[in-house]
């Protein structure tokens, strides 16, 4: 086997048992790579379980910044006896399998084409630690130490991370250091270190941060002034409101009285959570909730009310695999339809598609302004991959001069100037009417909010003409929204190719990698990343400028492609599906293979 060294380009996978304390050890590993200035992307692949089932942690390290998921595993740390055979099989030919050699590996697990690196993790811990719980926990640190030797990770960096982690429990630092050193020394003494695949310090990250999308979303809501956060637990959205509350406890408590300038309520279900959001925003506060696909289904009736009664709503949908309970701990983008057209009757909603934690922050804050401005639900379409995994991201930014856009709200002074207030009068011609908040004025501006048809003065009516006037006026807001939502991102100014690629959200990472790799093979593609529904003119232009457009997304039915067809009235033949829906984030490989299969058909047929 060759000894040519591969630096800063590898995938390391950890195979653990859920609930054994491996998560923090694995986190130390990723953080150490990050602190060595090398682009890194860790992903949790976890079961719907708290303790006992297999769980994986996969880390892609790539100097060029390609951080989408990659299939070939260069090194696997296998400490879960129950997934051993599957784990060993997943290592690429010529790769490395690091295992606990306290017990001899059974013959059936031996492969000719990979390297075995046995570290007696349990034995080292038994010899050096007394308490059984410690023996178990430090096993994880032992393998981190061994990896430091094998991959050439700077020990001082890991030690620094451990020191920070246990700053408040200092007595845990020495045993952690001991465990780290046990692994490090054992690997050094028994194997040729470092391996031909290794890392090396770089300065590639600038001021970037390593953060989960859900934490960034929570901070976006906090900075945008959300005060009421009702919610119901559901993976993978739970950590959004959890993080909101954690930060609010630090940043939103009145120093004098200890009173909270926020209200987090765990609701009895998603219906109630959405009802509370609607009640709070109707009453003039900024409110939001976070959920996943099943929650959106439950909220749908209420979302239709908010749409028709024109009440601002911010909903975070951290998507996961469906339908039904589906794959609750695996990623997908399968709620495009159910979110875009949530509820009965003619409804359609503003969707925002973040692809990085920084965008989770920005677009969540933007969602509040858009919801207030347009007086309608706005749904932030995140997913499990983005929400629950650490991602490299530009730092979160806030302009202190920024003011909240609360949209068209009449004050008491405004109402004094008005002869007769009509809640649903379109005075400005943009489809958006002026609302009033309860208790604004003693005798003016009150109105009755209802989900039934009503006239411009909010009075109940079943007159068909009036109904049409009202729903057409609401539709006008959709046109207005096109100018307000974030525009798409174009990756090259030139019209370089007859073929284009459209993608959104977390497919971005692998899409950009695939486009680069295809270009190296001589296949040039123009690229557009969409960030919002409704689609604006730029999206239509892009499609019209290309003969064929590949639409990359992570669901079975190519829902986003159908959305483009439906909303822009473009030919379905022009849009080609590029899909992945196995619960794992899409890879550049999968994208390239699918795109190339279409290109070769064309080549064969025409040229």
């Amino acid at each position: 086997m060759t000894k040519a060294s591969v630096v800063n380009d590898l995938v390391v996978r950890f195979a653990n048992v859920n609930g054994t304390g491996s998560a923090s050890a694995n986190g130390f590993f990723s953080k150490a790579i990050f602190r060595m200035g090398i682009p890194v992307s860790p992903k949790n692949i976890f079961p719907s379980n708290i303790q006992g089932l297999p769980t994986w942690y996969e880390v892609r390290i790539n100097e060029n910044g390609y951080l989408g998921r990659r299939d070939d595993i260069d090194l696997l740390v296998g400490v879960n006896p129950h997934s051993l055979s599957q784990d060993i099989a997943s290592v690429r030919s010529g790769g490395y399998f690091v295992y606990d050699s306290s017990k001899k590996l059974h013959g059936e697990f031996l492969r000719e084409d990979i390297h075995y690196i046995g570290i007696p993790m349990m034995q080292l811990c038994m010899d050096n630690f007394e308490a059984p719980r410690q023996q178990q926990l430090f096993k994880n640190i032992v393998y981190v130490g061994a990896l430091a030797a094998l991959l050439d990770i700077e020990m001082e960096v890991i030690q620094g991370i451990i020191r920070e982690q246990f700053a408040r429990k200092e007595k845990l630092i020495p045993p952690n250091f001991l465990a780290l050193d046990l692994g490090y020394q054992y690997a050094r003494n028994h194997f040729e270190c470092p391996l031909p695949i290794r890392v090396e310090r770089r300065d590639k990250l600038g001021d970037q941060i390593l953060i989960e999308g859900n934490a960034a979303t929570a901070l976006g809501a906090l900075y945008a002034g959300a005060t009421v956060a009702p919610w119901y637990p559901i993976t993978p959205s739970t950590s959004v409101v959890k993080a909101f509350e954690d930060y609010a406890k630090k940043l939103r408590v009145d120093p004098e009285t200890g009173q909270k300038k926020y209200a987090v309520i765990q609701a009895e279900d998603e219906l109630a959570a959405m009802g509370m959001v609607i009640g709070a925003t109707w009453n003039g506060a900024r409110a939001f909730t976070a959920t996943s696909g099943p929650g959106v289904s439950l909220m749908s009736e209420f979302i239709g009310l908010a749409y028709f009664a024109e009440i601002p709503v911010v909903l975070v949908n951290v998507q996961r695999g469906g339908p039904s309970t589906g794959m609750p701990t695996r990623t997908q983008q399968p709620d495009i339809f159910s979110s875009a057209y949530a509820s009965h009757g003619d409804t359609k909603h503003v969707l925002l598609f973040p692809s990085t934690p920084a965008e989770c922050f920005e677009l969540t804050a933007e969602a509040f302004d858009l919801a207030d401005r347009l007086q309608t639900p706005v749904i932030l379409m995140s997913d499990l991959d983005l929400g629950m995994n650490d991602h490299l991201s530009p730092p979160l930014k806030w302009d202190d001069n920024r003011r909240y856009d609360r949209g068209k709200v009449y004050t008491a002074e405004d109402l004094e100037q008005i002869e007769r207030y009509g809640r649903y009068l379109d005075i400005d011609g943009d489809g958006i009417c002026y609302r009033t908040i309860p208790a604004t004025h003693p005798t003016k501006g009150s109105f009755f909010t209802r989900g039934t048809s009503r006239n411009e003065y909010a009075q109940y009516t079943e007159n068909g003409e009036v109904y049409v006037r009202i729903v057409d006026r609401i539709n006008k807001k959709w046109e207005t929204a096109k100018e307000l939502v974030p525009p798409p991102v174009r990756y090259s100014d030139q019209h370089r190719s007859a073929e284009g690629v459209i993608f959104f959200g977390t497919s971005t990472y692998s899409a950009l990698e695939a486009i680069d790799l295809l270009e190296q093979e001589g296949i040039v593609l123009d690229a557009l990343r969409i960030r919002a529904l409704p689609f604006n003119r730029e999206v239509l232009d892009f499609i019209e400028q290309h003969e064929r457009v590949f639409v990359i997304e992570q669901n079975r039915d190519a829902q986003f492609r159908s959305l483009l067809v439906n909303e822009l009235e473009v030919s379905p033949k022009q849009l080609i599906k590029v899909l992945n829906y196995d619960g794992f984030p899409i890879t550049a490989d999968a994208i390239m293979t699918q795109i190339k299969s279409h290109l070769s058909v064309k080549t064969n047929g025409i040229r």
Binding site: R35, D207, Q208, I209, L210, I211, L219, L222, Y223, A224, T227, V228, P230, R252, T257, Q259, K260, K261, A263, I265, E268, L271, A272, M274, G275, M276, V277, I278, G279, A280, T281, W282, N283, G284, A285, A287, E301, F302, L305, L396, K397, W398, D400, Y404, T436, I437, P438, A439, T440, H441, P442, T443, S446, F447, F448, T449, G451, T452, Q459, T461
Partner: protein
């Protein structure tokens, strides 16, 4: 259709301390059936708010779906109203209350809206002790869809079509007591002398106040054999007490014979004077209220009046320690931690 009433007010009409006449608390003309119990309840709400000199714009009325939930259009037209989703009035009111703790919240629901589709929200809003008055206009049937049985239709109660109720009925009062409600009362739409002071007391109570008001459906459930008809209710009603609500500033002028009366002082200083009609029952003791209710049930009585009140009630804002100013009044200065703090947060992720 919503009918608009003429705005003309006779200058000689009596006015309350705010200078409003009773008509200022009215709403649009009702579109419910003539003789509907719900209209009497609307009238009692108007009278209670007028007498208490409530500023109409400081009250928010929220309802679900059904005949009962239509009524907020028919009272307090200077208040913001919200006719929301079937069975979901509690969550909408909870959100509204969280946004502004300073308003009076009046939730209106029916037996279908609360005891069937909205049962979950009914239970959970009680647990949270949201500061609101929750009126159930209870007619034991689905009026708006032409008279189907509801979850409060008693077992064996005969419908207009002649069929008997097949299931056990849900007693919202008993359930509320069980769930820890801090103000529990039952009344009858036809008994304004009892209902009006109960509404006043409920609105003064700092926490969740349930008023289950029997309100016969003249069209679909007022027949012989129905346990929610005017005749049946009148025949079986058993009042626990005669109640007077005395606002803080007023002198107490009513007096009852010693021994049979109880006085409860509310947070805002107003008082409830209860002339107990049944002995061995203490309205501030949940256990005795539950017992009294069970006893009445056994005897086939419909127990009315204030059954239970917790004078120490703390609403959810107090329990959670929310800011004393309404959350909807806070601006950037209070809400946005600013860029310098964000820089520190960024640093914690490096």
């Amino acid at each position: 259709m919503t009918y608009i009433k003429p705005k003309f007010r006779h200058p000689g009409l009596p006015k309350n301390t705010l200078g409003y006449s009773r008509a200022d608390y009215e709403g649009a003309i009702s579109t419910l059936c003539a003789g509907c119990g719900h209209d009497s309840i609307s009238g009692s709400i108007v009278q209670a708010c007028y007498e208490m000199s409530i500023e109409p714009h400081r009250l928010a009325k929220v309802s679900g779906i059904g005949c009962s939930s239509k009524t907020p259009t028919y009272f307090l037209e200077n208040s913001h109203g919200f006719n929301s989703v079937h069975g979901r009035m509690p969550s909408v009111t909870t959100g509204a209350n969280m946004a502004n703790r300073d308003l009076i919240y009046l939730g209106v629901s029916g037996d279908g809206d609360s005891a069937s589709i909205g049962m979950g929200q009914f239970c959970h809003v009680i647990r949270r002790n949201i500061n609101m008055t929750y009126i159930v206009m209870n007619n034991g049937c689905y009026g708006l869809t032409k008279g189907q049985d509801s979850a409060t239709t008693d077992f064996g109660s005969v419908s207009k079509g002649g069929s008997k109720g097949l299931y056990q009925s849900i007693d919202l009062i008993g359930l509320a007591l069980e769930l820890g409600a801090t103000f529990v009362a039952r009344s009858f739409s036809g008994d304004k002398t009892q209902l009006i002071p109960l509404i006043k007391a409920a609105m003064s109570h700092p926490g969740f106040a349930l008023l289950d008001v029997l309100s016969p459906c003249v069209t679909f459930n007022n027949n012989v054999g129905s346990t929610k008809s005017y005749d049946y209710v009148r025949d079986h009603i058993e009042a626990t007490s005669v109640l007077d609500f005395v606002p803080e500033e007023e002198e107490i002028t009513v007096s009852y014979p010693e021994g049979g009366s109880a006085s409860v002082t509310l947070h805002d200083g107003s008082q409830l004077l209860l002339h107990k009609l049944s002995p061995h029952w203490d309205p501030t003791d949940r256990h005795s209220a539950v017992n009294r209710l069970q006893q009445a049930k056994k005897q086939g009585e419909i127990l009315t009046g204030l059954l239970y009140i917790d004078p120490q009630s703390q609403d959810l804002h107090d329990i959670m320690g929310t800011y004393s100013k309404p959350l909807n009044s806070l601006q950037e200065e209070d809400l946005c931690p600013g860029s310098a703090t964000l820089e520190k947060i960024n640093a914690s992720f490096r």
